[in-house]
Symmetry: C2
Subunit: 134 residues, 2 copies
């Protein structure tokens, strides 16, 4: 069985928490003063999860990029609980001989099959992905 | 309208990314070497979001705790996409005159009404919450 994921958060005042995750740590701040908010962490988690899949899948295709960036934008509902309603992820890759088809295939595989964060989200969040090469 | 949440991730090699979120930054690492993985960030985001709500709601009830910790554990499916199937959150609070009923009410309000991260997750993830005071 897969090991459970564990974390501990300690309140350090205002809306700020010190998180400990195994040997790693990070700060969460509801006011975004020097650290990310929870909804920002969720978005970074989604973009990171898909980007890791894309790097991994392209590696298996022997199509390793020289560079890769992801820009992610999440639109929230106006009323409480102000959840995400729409998320767009734009992948930009650089590298000799990378093909649009391969990159699109890697993104599609992440989305359909591998991305643990994406599949932990509500299925009615509209997620849009796109990519550019060059 | 609520401002969209934005982030940018830059691949820095292996399964590692530098995330920029407004003026804040953090590292995401699929191998968890010195930084959290995407699924860890999701869990910290959920625990942080609920904990922020609880602090906020208790403040409105004039029942501010002296200290608050949250331990969170997420169980993942064994097969791809290895999404979360079960998450438990254990709140521990310290403070003179805090009542179990008030804390339970704050947690329930977060869950039912306010928690943006919780409401962005699949509704069939079994989420269990509990609290202790003292």
């Amino acid at each position: 069985m897969t090991q459970p994921v564990e974390a501990r958060l300690d309140w350090t005042g205002e809306l700020r928490f010190q998180a400990s995750v195994g040997e790693n740590g990070l700060v969460v701040d509801g006011k975004r003063q020097g650290a990310c908010s929870p909804m920002e962490l969720l978005l970074v988690g989604l973009a990171g999860c898909m980007a890791i899949d894309v790097v991994h899948i392209l590696g298996k295709m022997r199509a390793v990029p020289d560079a890769l960036q992801v820009s992610v934008e999440g639109v929230r509902a106006d009323s409480e609980p102000r959840r995400y309603t729409r998320i767009s992820l734009r992948f930009a890759l650089q590298g000799e001989g990378l093909s649009q088809a391969e990159v699109e295939r890697a993104i599609a595989l992440s989305r359909e099959k591998y991305c643990s964060v994406y599949h932990s989200l509500r299925s009615d969040i509209e997620v849009e992905t796109s990519c550019t090469i060059g």
